[in-house]
Amino acid sequence: MSAPTTPAALTIAEAQAEMRAGRLSARELTEDCLAAIGAAGALNAVVHPVPDKALEMADAADAARAAGEDKPLLGIPLGIKDVFCTEGVAAQSASHILEGFVPPYESTVTGKLWAAGAVQLGKLNMDEFAMGSSTEHTTYGPCVSPWRREGDTAPIVPGGSSGGSAAAVAADLCLGATATDTGGSIRQPAAFCGVVGIKPTYGRCSRWGIMAFASSLDQAGPIAKSVEDAATLLGAMAGHDPMDSTSAPLEVPDFTAELAGDLRGRRIGVPQEYRKGLSDETAATLENGIEMLRDAGAEVVDVSLPMTKAALPAYYVIAPAEASSNLARYDGVRYGRRAKLGQGDGVLELYEKTRAEGFGPEVRRRVMIGAYVLSAGYYDAYYLRAQKVRRLVRQDFDRVLEEVDTLLAPATPGPAFAQGEFDGDPVQMYLQDVFTVTLNLAGLPGISVPVGRAANGLPLGLQLIGRAWGEVPLFGAAAALEARAGTRPRPQPWW
């Protein structure tokens, strides 16, 4: 293993060890991250840097440590997805309609991170309102992956919607990042960028202060350089919050409890439906993953989730329906940007012009699809039917997760694609989410772990799926994969 050459390239666990030993200060670490961000403009991952705030928080962390304090994230610089409200720091969910918005309050999740000692570096690029799988649909312009195909300089997408989070972590601009996942938006970009991302059980993290996309599906989680770091970050982010009625009143367990990765006595299932139509590379990666889990002592068996095929279209009814309702709040009255009105324009024109100017094409498409499937005459045929399919998807998982405690599946159909590859074909882009949306519909936790490389050099990830509230054993299985996959793949800096 080649040792990282700069502090910003350390994992959270490594940086904590250095700081606890007095060999590194939070200020040095933060300055190194800020320098890395300054040099990485070509990635367009960090869209609202806050260097002054970062250094102030770093100094406070150093002072606290000098006074004998120690906390899990004391002095650890993090990037924050632009979907989180951060008091006094711009947040616009990568949308033109929220240009100029400065939240007057802090999201629960980011508030918990600062309370755990973390340092805020700035806001990260994403697909507008978290709708997308490539971080190309953003008012800030596309985010570019730090990865390139071997022998090729074509820009590659970092995945989405948390593409800025995955790119910033993979490029060592920060030690970890927050992200959100409604249909795969943590796990897919993590897989594309060769880093770790977990979507916890629905209700594990508070949604208070996170701009809503589809409230029954949205969950926050971390993107990190290692399984251990992801467990540490989730421990700080999770917990009941009276401000979110869907956040679970459960104790936060020690997510690092089973990281030794001993899987003896564990039964892990591989859904047969997730093996269909895989590229040879993805199929081979899945086989490697199965061998790794067996090597760690697990019994790996075939299982079946017959509703898999119907899950994706059901998701693309439910998510836009909830989005059309949630995004009704962006009306040019209370916050954000208002269109310039003409003589005699009334309040209807104010809404319609503001939203026409403010929403990008993908958000407009989804809000319109949502309005359509909820409209009179179509509600039963689309929305109600999709909600019934959702129950069938959940029942599939309930049945299978009685026989096995974890599932192994691909995270994505293949490695990251090139910028512009799916222009003009939204359905092809939606198919990227085929292995991830099922978990959101069922509310289950899933973690994406890098386990290999494609022939073109790009990282490939696998996804582990756990029982509801089963993140501790899920992290254990992820650690077993990570230990056998070897050192985290690092992109060759070109930026």
């Binding site: 009814v317 009255v333 954000g336 012009k353 309005a371 399919v389």
Partner: protein
């Protein structure tokens, strides 16, 4: 093609998004593409299945109908209005509404 231009105009109005006439044709194509793909849901047997709106049983907690600490904070009105595109005399301002 399941969506025609008239439906695009209707849905645009429901969604409160102004759509220019010269965009209608393309939007009709895009929305039809998505909806035709979603059509495969009709093949699933959902007879007798209860719709599922939430993954956890919904037992919404209640709280006292009183101001929270944040709502009662001094200067909260200014804070709330600070992001408004047009705020006057403690209110959001909009064009005159005549029904």
């Amino acid at each position: 093609m399941s969506i025609d231009r008239a439906t695009v105009r209707k849905v645009a109005r429901l969604a409160r998004i102004a759509v220019r006439e010269d965009e209608e044709e393309q939007l009709a194509g895009e929305l039809s593409g998505v909806l035709d793909w979603i059509e495969q849901l009709q093949a699933v047997d959902v007879e007798g299945v209860e719709p599922m709106a939430s993954v956890h049983p919904l037992e919404l907690p209640r709280r006292a109908d009183a101001l929270t600490a944040a709502e009662g904070e001094a200067g909260i009105q200014d804070k709330v209005l600070a992001n408004a595109p047009d705020a006057r005399q403690g209110f959001y301002a909009v064009p005159k509404v005549v029904e």
